[in-house]
Amino acid sequence: MSTDAAINTGVSDDAHEHHDHKPSGFFARWVLTTNHKDIGSLYLLFSFAMFLTGGAMAMVIRAELFQPGLQLVEPNFFNQMTTVHGLIMVFGAVMPAFVGLANWMIPVMIGAPDMALPRMNNWSFWILPFAFSLMLMTLFMEGGGPNFGWTFYAPLSTKYSPDSTAVFVFAVHLMGISSIMGAINVIVTIVNLRAPGMTMMKLPLFVWTWLITAFLLIAVMPVLAGAVTMVLTDKYFGTSFFDAAGGGDPVMFQHIFWFFGHPEVYIMILPSFGIISAIIPTFSRKPLFGYASMVYATASIAGLSFLVWAHHMFTTGMPVAAELFFMYCTMLISVPTGVKVFNWVATMWRGSLTFEVPMLFAIAFIVLFTIGGFSGLMLAITPVDFQYHDTYFVVAHFHYVLVSGAIFSIMAASYYWLPKWTGYMYDDYLAKWHFWCSLISVNILFFPMHFLGLAGMPRRIPDYALQFANVNAVVSIGGFAFGLSQLIFLVVVIKCMRGKGERASAKPWEGAEGLEWEMPSPAPYHTHTTPPEIK
């Protein structure tokens, strides 16, 4: 502890920040860090580890579903796999990846010396490994881990849930605390730490989309905390929030959950919009078409996200007036989203396009995310949703927007900024393999699921009727291929981190613009110690 005591006085060694030296020693560098770039790297590495963990669970699911009948796992374990796969991918993979990108890029992009509250930034990150240890621990407890789906609907999560549910509840609380602190940091950094001359309407779109995402996070993560708390008291303390016998209502759980859940969906896609809005102009060698409309579209999507939650609940017996209200509000979201897709295409129109790997992922994002958006529109139509509800059509829809949407944009961002982070270019040959394998396999994996759903195959069931056998086998093959393809990405990242490959210049992309390209690659440990003047 003696060395720690010397470190944590903070004041005496404040001269430290004026050097570019990294702290020595693993513990001091990574565990005690207040550096936004180190914390960003930690977030990104953690999220990748979680992506592979959640991916392994998806492999179990697809292996079980390869053939009809129960093959490999017990139904209860299958349910735990679908549940924990969802929880890990949402809270452990996609969200931390975006927070990692925000940490790395926002201070650099807006000319700030670091995040506004650097110590809290460290705390936000280091809560996460503990939270996910708790979550994964439940799988080894008596009675197993959470098996009620990542949406933990009551009474599955109250009356019929395993003993470990309390651990799940507190793990979610920790994730929420981490997310809220991370989001507060992002907002304060953007509002308060912009360099002189960096006006709001000059902000890179990635920064804008994150500003709005952070607002959504602070608004809805506490509601999730409320929902899990009511689940906890219903299960262990005799309350009946979600039990009609005591005057409550299981449907009320769904209202509270989706009031969190739908903005959460946009939390997982708005930063993607920012990433794509950075990459498309770079490789089109044209400025982004319709910058202001992009900002307003993002804000509109965020505003509407609070008015559409019950489109997840069309079959619960709501009054028709409510169903119609939520149907029309949902459809309204396609307008600002359409603006975005139009602007990206218009940016590429008559541009001098080149197809480096970030651009390939970005274009794939636009096409595949739009497919996911269209299936979302189909789901928004109340009467037909009665047919699609809880089928593989829904699974296909949200995996198109989350895997070939959010995850593809994270891949695009990684390839785009890896040279800036590590100082080395990625292995282009392997990266192209990664892209094409991912692109083909993701469609083999998720596209046939639309047909399975339309034909009536329910989700979250370990067995299925015989007529679904062939399509499920194809889907599983796509799943294994997609999972294996991500190992190529692992190799690419490790090669960059270990300094194998071509040295990256300060601005490896000809058409790139922004403050991050005006500093050497890799970015120095401390940047913008003096705020740059933005003209």
């Binding site: 470190i7 920040e17 670091d114 509840v169 730490l193 809805v220 110690t529």
Partner: protein, 296 residues
């Protein structure tokens, strides 16, 4: 960013202060982990040793808060913070309070949904006639829900008496705190101590009366956490509010000690301001509680 540019900048007082490494966040993360693990296992398993884990985690958190805030206060008093830093703190605190508002909104939302929708539907309102007929035909929808569909009975807490007194106490405490705040801004330290001390005292009285109310509810009125949706919403809303009053009182007490040590100046007293905002927020939550839980 050449190093010479950085050295020049170190002379400027306006530079944003970026702290070097700190042990406190990881201590806080470990503390939270132990608290979460202890609480969860205690609830799920009931074994007493887990309550010790919870307690141990809480001790670590208190230790962390002392160390962390200690660092921040030292940094502030040595003049490392600029006006920009002050704004970061203010904005951070505002957004934290906004997150707290949303947390309470979840429980108020549950209360409103139950009152306006769930309970009337169980009584057959709208097109729910068959629900009523098939599930609990005897059930009559009314609020406060003193008889649940499955027949649990309880009594409703009247708003006169203790709750009304507590409302007055909290309202007065907001005034005394504001008085202390204004005095601090004018540099009158004695009045600051008086205002702040009175607020802490009122906070403690509020909590004592609330405990009194709970004992009364449990022992004489048959109103418990498990007596149907009325008891659920009553105890979770007032309980979480009470936790916030407890936290607020501790915060104000720490501020009181800091005022005694001569910590704040009329120009720079973010800590005081943050504690004061928090207290006023807790006060507003109580007013909503008083109207929607007790009176209506």
């Amino acid at each position: 960013m050449s190093s010479s540019a950085q050295h020049q900048s170190s002379d400027k007082a306006t530079n944003y202060y970026v702290p070097s490494q700190s042990i406190w966040p990881i201590v806080g993360a470990v503390g939270l982990f132990l608290m979460a693990l202890g609480a969860a296992m205690w609830i799920a398993d009931g074994a007493a040793q887990y309550s010790w884990l919870l307690f141990f985690g809480a001790v670590i958190i208190v230790f962390m808060l002392f160390g962390w805030f200690g660092n921040v206060i030292t940094e502030s008093m040595t003049g490392l913070y600029s006006a920009q830093m002050d704004r970061s703190f203010r904005q951070g605190m505002s957004w934290f309070i906004f997150s707290e508002v949303m947390f309470f909104l979840a429980f108020f939302g549950a209360l409103f949904y139950a009152r306006m929708i769930a309970v009337p539907w169980l009584g057959g309102a709208g097109n729910n006639g068959m629900t009523h007929e098939l599930l609990w035909p005897e059930f009559v929808a009314h609020w406060p829900l003193v008889t649940t569909p499955d027949g649990t009975t309880t009594t409703a807490m009247p708003w006169q008496g203790l709750p009304l007194m507590n409302t007055v106490i909290l309202l007065v405490s907001s005034v005394t705190l504001h008085y202390g705040h204004v005095s601090l801004e004018k540099g009158r330290r004695t009045e600051t101590k008086l205002g702040l001390g009175l607020t802490v005292l009122l906070g403690i009285i509020f909590l004592v009366l609330q405990v009194e109310e709970y004992i009364h509810a449990y022992q004489e009125m048959g109103l418990t956490l498990s007596s149907g949706l009325y008891g659920n919403t009553f105890f979770l809303l007032t309980g979480f509010h009470g936790l916030h009053v407890t936290l607020g009182t501790i915060i104000l007490f720490v501020l009181f000690c800091r005022v005694l040590k001569g910590h704040f100046t009329p120009a720079q007293h973010f800590g005081f301001q943050a504690g004061s905002w928090y207290w006023h927020f807790v006060d507003v939550v109580w007013l909503c509680l008083f109207v929607f839980v007790y009176i209506l």
